[in-house]
Structure formats: C-alpha cells, structure tokens
C-alpha cells in the first residue's frame, strides 16, 4: 500500500517536473493547477468526465481535511477546479507551506489512482504525461498491492 507520505512525495516530484518544464512566456498559472489539468484531461479520456469528476471530488474531500486553505475550492462539472489557481511560481515547493493544499490535493488524487489502478498503470499514465519523469520502482511495483 502506498502511504500518504509516498503519494505526497510523488506529487512534489510532479510539481517539480512541471515547474522545470514551464516556459517564461507561459501565463502565471498555478503549477499545481497545470499538473491537475494534465491529469484531468488524460483521465477524462480514460474514465470519462463523470468518472474523473467522482475521483476529483473524493480527492478534494480528503485533501480538505488536511488543508483548510482548500475550503473554498470546488470541482466543476467538467472536473476542473474552481477557486484554485492563484500564482505560486515563487513558491519553494519542497520547503514552503504555501501551496501545500494544492500539493495535498494532487497527492490525494494520485493516491486514489494508485489504489484503483495500481502502481504500474499509474506509473505508465504519469510517464505518458511527463515523458522525462522517472519514477522509482517502489511506485510502479506497488500497483497490485495498492
């Protein structure tokens, strides 16, 4: 079983990869929102909008219990997030508490994927979205146990 700390670590890494992949000309969009949007688009193809909406709502509910700053955030009918997206380009993702709620949300979403799809398929999905990303064997190998 993937622990919350492991899925949070994975979320941190996705945010770091996305930050590195960002371009200067890009709008000052939340990195975590970009990560979320990539996941949303891919998962809507896989599971449908309704399927993704259910997953995202569950992830948000779980994340809200850990991050009160997500209290105003909602999942829109198309699965996108409402009330999130303030620029956090300056945030030190690893060390700062700022933006931690978004990280927890991503972590919770990844945690659900690991639970439902397993490590191997989640790893494939992430590799498909972030081709340069490398995941440790622990994540990929945890699929069947998750």
């Amino acid at each position: 079983m993937i622990s919350p700390s492991e899925s949070r670590d994975l979320a941190h890494r996705l945010l770091a990869w996305e930050a590195n992949a960002g371009e200067a000309a890009e709008p000052a969009e939340s990195i975590s929102l970009r990560v979320y949007e990539k996941l949303r688009r891919r998962l809507c193809i896989l599971a449908g909008v309704a399927g993704f909406h259910s997953l995202a709502s569950r992830a948000l509910t779980l994340a809200k219990s850990e991050a009160p700053d997500l209290a105003a955030v909602q999942v829109a009918p198309d699965g996108s997030l409402l009330g999130l997206g303030k620029p956090d380009v300056q945030i030190d993702i690893v060390g700062s508490k700022a933006g931690e709620g978004e990280t927890i949300l991503i972590a919770r979403l990844l945690g659900l994927l690991l639970i439902f799809l397993g490590g191997a398929l989640t790893s494939n999905l992430i590799s498909d979205l972030w081709p340069d990303a490398t995941l440790d064997d622990n994540i990929a190998g945890n699929g069947r146990k998750a």
Partner: protein, 504 residues
C-alpha cells in the same frame, strides 16, 4: 502475389487458450464481431485477452468504454489476470471513454468521435464496451441500422478488427440489424446447474471460415478465459492411420486371446464387478507399455496416485521410476465443479506432454461420479469425443467400468458406452464347486479374430494369470452359475492354441 489468386484472410490469435481451435485457427483479420451474453459471462475479459494478444505500439488497440462499468474499475479488475500486461498501456492499448458523447449527443456524434480517434491512432483492434448501452434507446430502427452499417464499413476500411460487446438475450437474435451486419457472433452463456456454474461459448456465426459448431465449455481463471473445444484441439493434428501393430498386456495368454494383443489406436473396455481385477489388468497394460518404450497416462478417480503406484509395486510393477523419468503420469482427478470437457482436457494435456501411447481411465464410473451432477448429462457425449479424438491420433485407451454382477444377465456396462469401444473384455465371477472363481472372455474385438474361449484366471502376486485350460466341462458359465456338462468331463486346450497349431 498473384492477382488471380483468392484473397488471403489472415487469422489473428484470440489470446484465449482453446479458442483459436474453435474459431478455425484464429479470428479473421478486419472482421466486425459481436460478443454477446449476460452480465458476468466474461465478455469484457474475452475482449481484453484479444486486445492484449494483438495490440502493438505501431497498430494499437482502441478500447472505447461507454456507460456501464467504469474504465477505472474495469482496469482495476482486469489487471488481476495474468494476461494483463500493464506495459502495454497506453502505447499499445488506449482506453477512451465515450459516456459524455453518448449521454449528451446522438449516434452521429458517437460515430464522429470514434472516427476521429481511429483516424488518429490507426488501430489494429477496436472494442466498444458496452455497445448495447450506447444504442439502448435509438431514435428509430433506421438510425441504429444506419449507424451500425457506417461504423462497420468505416472500421473495416481502416483495417481494424472490431469487437462490439453487448448484453443481449437470446431471443434478440432475430430482427436485430447488428447481428446481420456482424461477421462474427460470439455468444457466452452462464447457467447454474444444481450447485455448479456452467459456462458455455458458442460461435453463432463466423464469416470466411469454418468454426467448430456447438457449445464449448469455458472457464474463467486467474489466466482469464480458457475455452475447451468440443474437438479437444485435436482436429488440426494429423490423424494416424490405423496401425496393424498389436500392443501387449504383458500377459501372454491374454495377448493370444486378443489375436496378438490390442490393436494400436483401439479403445478397450474392461468390464467387471468389484474385485475382478479390472485395475490390475489396467496396471499391467500400462506397465507393459512402459517396458515396450510406450509412455502412458493413468487417470484415476478412486485412489490417489501414490496408492495406485504402491498397489502396482505389490504386483512387482514399478510405476515410480517411469514417473520420475517422465514416461508415465498418474493423474488424480477429482474435478467436483469442473466440466467433463475440462477434465478431459487435463487428460489430453498430459497425453500430449509426454507423447503418451497408452491411456488408462480407471474407472469410468469413478470419472462420472467425480463430476458434479450438472455435468453428468454430457458425460457420454464428451467421452465419445475424447475417445474418438485420442484414438484418431494413435493413442490406445483402456477404460475400466464396474458392472453389477448378475446371475441372470451378462451386461457389458451399465453406462451404455459399449459403442465407444473397439474391444471389450469381460471379467466376472462364477460359482464352481463351492468356490467363487473368475472367468474372462473377449466379447468383442473390432477388426480382429479374437478367441471365443471363456478362460479362468486368478489374481496372483504378479497380477492377472490366466489358467492353462479352457473350461469346456461346464454349461452356462456366463450366467455365473454353471452346471457341469454331461457330455464332457475335462478341460481342453484353448482354441487359439489348437488353431495356431493347426495352421502350423
């Protein structure tokens, strides 16, 4: 390539053990197929096995999910099967959910969505699961028919082999345009018989090639679906011509009664009541085969392999060494909820694994009793198919069967399976001079000039031993209660000895 030649329809492996044989060697490429059946009958698993067997990064599979089972849950469950290779996702296998299009738009939009994705991916395989939910409420029959026609035409033109999965009842076979358009129709059935679940597969329709007709048992295991062809996968094998070679029992007198031994490729039935030595005879038959370099299989149902080998050892027959050397396999089959076809498949697998030349089924009564009641109705028919298939490739089969001892009748078998056998050897008790003695007679030998003698035998430390003299001084031996003949007061030499002597 000859421009005048007929088109070659390539066959794709189904990825389902046993199914290739049933569909005639594989599924026709670019065919438009329906997998129909009730919920839980294995439709999605069948489609997944085909997809995983055929999808490549160059020619991927597109798996469209619609309403019904969510893709995430589907993947969660399907990945438990051993055929599921996660590395194939998403490069070789791509899942696309069409629920929103179906819910919010019409069939035209659905077709457009599928068309777009197919043109983008150039897939070798397309699956729509569940197609039924997509067309449950068509605006009119014409809409549905038009949609299916266009979908089939488009996917065939794009060189995709297609599966539409649907939950259909059998009475929907008529008047449904989808079944008219389909090239292949796979119907999966699941019924409950007593406490057992019986799964059967039927190829209702398959254009372009001959499939094996009828209902085929299938099972869903950790490895996915495994189908059991009614022909047991042996139709593709070259049938051996009927040989003239005779196989010895290792009992010279019995071999003589059989005109030199059992003809290779025959099915022999040894019938007798309890304690008459049927299993001993069968063991001697298999042991003699090992001595002659002919690997053998013994399928036992009433005792465990170790006990069987120990009993053979008590007769001086070593079955342990040939087992270790891979020349003999003793199968202990207590199938309980297995179908007769699955059980027979186990025997066939063992036969093919060691290239067995002799097979002993000990006993048919035990075999039938080991099956759950729901499958017993198929027993005779399945047994017939297995014996026909195995003897056709040159395996010689000896089956034992217990018959009720009667002192007014002389039954060969209570199972009405005599027609399955080329040769019948009957063992029975007779009451002679205050003793319960044993006699043996060859009742039938197809294509052979067997002895007509009724011979007395005993089971000794080295097995069945036929005693030297033919009993001629009794009348009514086969009744079990003979009377001493008035005109003869002695035993004479067996007829086959005198006949051979006359010839020389």
């Amino acid at each position: 390539m000859s421009t005048q030649g007929k088109v070659t329809i390539h066959k794709l492996l189904t990825g389902v053990p046993g199914l290739d044989e049933i569909v005639g060697g594989g599924l026709p490429e670019f065919s438009f197929n329906i997998i129909a059946g009730a919920p839980g009958s294995g439709k999605t698993t069948l489609a997944h096995q085909f997809v995983f067997a055929n999808a490549t990064p160059e020619r991927p599979a597109l798996y469209f999910t619609v309403l019904g089972e969510s893709a995430i849950k589907m993947l969660r469950y399907q990945q438990q099967y051993t055929f599921f290779n996660p590395a194939k996702l998403p490069d070789s296998i791509r899942f696309i959910n069409l629920s929103q299009v179906v819910l919010e738009k019409d069939l035209g939009a659905v077709l457009e969505e599928i068309t777009t994705e197919v043109q983008k991916a150039n897939p070798a395989v397309v699956v729509v699961d569940s197609f039924r939910t997509m067309v449950r409420q068509p605006q009119s029959d014409m809409d549905l028919q038009s949609f299916i026609q266009r979908l089939a035409l488009f996917l065939a033109s794009w060189q995709a082999t297609t599966f539409l999965i649907g939950e259909y009842a059998e009475d929907e076979l008529r008047d449904n345009p989808i079944f008219t358009v389909a090239d292949g129709l796979f119907w999966l059935r699941q019924t409950t018989e007593r406490n057992s679940i019986v799964r059967k597969l039927q190829i209702v329709k398959l254009r372009g090639q001959a499939s094996v007709p009828g209902l085929h048992t299938f099972r869903i295991t950790d490895a996915g679906i495994q189908a059991f062809s009614r022909t047991f996968g042996l139709t593709a094998r070259v049938r051996n011509p009927v040989g003239e070679r005779r196989l010895s029992f290792g009992i010279p007198e019995l071999d003589k009664m059989l005109d030199g031994g059992v003809r290779e490729g025959d099915s022999v039935l040894v019938a007798g009541s309890s304690g008459t030595g049927k299993s001993v005879l069968a063991t001697q038959f298999i042991a003699e085969g090992i001595n002659q370099g002919e690997p053998g299989i013994v399928a036992v149902f009433e005792e465990r392999p170790q006990a069987y080998a120990e009993r053979a050892a008590s007769l001086g027959l070593d079955l342990d060494t040939p087992q270790k050397e891979g020349k003999l396999a003793i199968l202990y089959l207590r199938p309980l909820d297995l179908s007769v076809d699955e059980t027979m498949q186990s025997i066939l697998d063992a036969v093919q694994k060691i290239d067995a030349k002799r097979l002993v089924i000990d006993s048919l009564a035990g075999f039938e009793m080991a099956l759950s009641p729901g499958f017993r109705a198929d027993f005779r028919e399945s047994l017939y198919r297995m014996i026909f298939a195995l003897t056709g490739i040159g395996v010689t089969i000896l089956s034992t069967v217990e018959v009720d001892e009667s002192f007014t009748e002389f039954p060969f078998s209570t199972y009405s399976i005599s027609f399955l056998c080329d040769d019948i050897i009957r063992l029975r008790y007779v009451s002679i001079e205050g003793q319960l003695r044993k006699i043996m007679v060859v009742i039938k030998m197809r294509g052979g000039n067997h002895a007509k003698d009724i011979r007395e035998y005993e089971i000794m430390s080295k097995g069945v031993v036929i005693l030297g003299k033919r009993l001629t001084n009794y009348q009514g031996l086969i009744s079990g209660i003979p009377v001493r003949s008035a005109h003869s007061a002695q035993e004479v030499e067996p007829s086959h000895v005198t006949e051979i002597e006359k010839q020389t």
